[in-house]
Symmetry: C2
Subunit: 277 residues, 2 copies
DNA sequence: CCACGTTCGGAACGTATATTCTATCTTGAC
DNA sequence: GTCAAGATAGAATATACGTTCCGAACGTGG
């Protein structure tokens, strides 16, 4: 008797089983377990031999590993990894493609909508990849300890800071929206001190006022967190912490989908951190 | 000599090549071509034998098919199908899972960020599913023929109309943002006539002014397009065309990612339609 | 109707595969 | 230190795989 009852029926179940028994597994099997969870794609596509060499293990070890989890052999386990990839993809992209293929038949408007949906989708994806959790954490800390948070954004970025101001208001976090009425911005920012902090958003082509205001604040040692779309942005050089987010666009118009998600995450995180002390 | 120059390097190129040459392909190869594009997953995971029997073809035909597109054999072609699945999944969901697994180890902020990314993702997805292309087309037509577009939104929806106003400005479409300064909103709206149109956004809990303004406009036969989150919204009943979009939220705070994508698609579509006449 | 080139089906081939088996090694208890 | 139980490495094996090959079928132009 090698296995342990019935094998898991789907990938999730297998994952749980592996995590559960990971501690009590022999050395080489632990090695396989770690490799399997870290490189599921390799397991799905590779051959027993190639996987074994990648994981620095003998092919037979893979078979034993599979049998420990109730499979007949390695192949049975592999099928679960393949199933996972199959099911994952069924929804979103295929829909886009099918719409795209209907191309000429569809109205132009529907085409534009799909482009924006697609752009929003990839913006959110790139947000997921671009933001380093540690940096995010630092940004949250900086803003959370500020007395007043100054929100700097012009033109296309303004809706972001506007929404943040709304949310901060709901969350009882004091903030000052900069860029709303003409002229008094710099007067407002003159109040900012080291005890405060600022959050600036600017995408190419960068609004010169935003950059100037950011620099001014940085010069007076006001901690500055910023969101921009390039390392060469004027915001990047004067920020305490900055994030690079490239919003996918359609015909030059970005949907701000990624930025909005980021902004809300930041806003809520700050409020949460402040609430917990 | 069997192949035709160099084989495609990625799945998309292969797809194009197949579609391009589909007409001039022999009978059985056409059969394979159709099967390949319809069941890409089968090709990625199956064996030559299993695929052949599914497609009602001989295994050798698969090899010939691959060779027609410049591959050495069937395996080379299969790798492209596998690569596609690999790359599709590499970014988003795995990252979420890995962060989710780090759970307790991760900071709370990172967790919140991921929740918002996830919410944004599903908002955009539901946008793709919820918006009927024909309705969208009607909405675009209504707004495109308006002399002035009135944008009605309060509170959390305001950033959406704000961004639309910015984009409409860039696109040289006349619009009037309603809800910016206190008091004069109704005076502004008094100018609206049947030749104009309005776009209203309101999510639960609905701002009473937005609903009232929308009703007033509808009563004066001003065409009204609206974006809201329920069929029971006060906006739904008085709109010429309306869209239901449920934004996924985290802790009650929506990221507006889906709404933003929708708004920009609408804005650009209107401008485009107007430009073309 | 015939010759020719192309396409197809199916068997044959060599290879690579997953699995099994066994000798060796490790582990831990007494 | 010894022994037993389990785990591992690596060779052995039987299987299944992708590919190749060749004769038959098909369609075409003369």
């Amino acid at each position: 008797m090698t296995g342990s009852g019935l094998p898991p029926q789907d990938f999730e179940a297998l994952r749980m089983a592996i995590l559960e028994r990971k501690a009590e597994l022999p050395k080489r099997l632990t090695q396989v377990a770690a490799y399997a969870l870290d490189h599921p794609d390799e397991i799905a596509f590779g051959t027993a031999a190639s996987i074994a060499s990648s994981a620095q293990v003998q092919p037979s070890t893979l078979v034993r590993f599979a049998q420990h989890f109730g499979f007949d052999g390695f192949s049975g386990l592999q099928q679960l990894f393949r199933l996972r990839l199959r099911e994952r993809n069924s929804s979103y992209e295929d829909r886009l493609r099918s719409l795209e293929e209907g191309g000429p038949a569809l109205s132009e408007s529907a085409g534009i909508l799909n482009k924006f949906i697609s752009a929003a989708h990839s913006s959110v994806d790139s947000l997921a990849n671009a933001v380093d959790p540690e940096n995010f954490d630092r940004a949250v800390s900086i803003l959370a300890r500020a007395e007043t948070i100054y929100l700097i954004a012009k033109r296309r970025s303004y809706p972001i800071s506007n929404y943040m101001a709304y949310a901060f208001g709901k969350l009882k976090v004091r903030c000052q929206l900069v860029g709303t009425a003409a002229g008094i911005d710099d007067d407002l920012l003159a109040f900012a001190s080291e005890k405060d902090a600022a959050f600036a958003v600017s995408f190419s082509p960068y609004a010169s006022e935003s950059a100037a205001q950011a620099r001014a604040l940085a010069g007076r040692n006001v901690p500055l967190v910023s969101l921009t779309d390039s390392a060469f942005s004027p915001l990047a050089e004067c920020s305490t912490v900055w994030f690079e987010l490239v919003e996918a666009d359609h015909a030059g118009f970005r949907s701000l989908s990624g930025s909005m998600a980021f902004a809300m995450a930041l806003t809520v995180s700050v409020a949460e951190k402040r609430r917990r002390g």
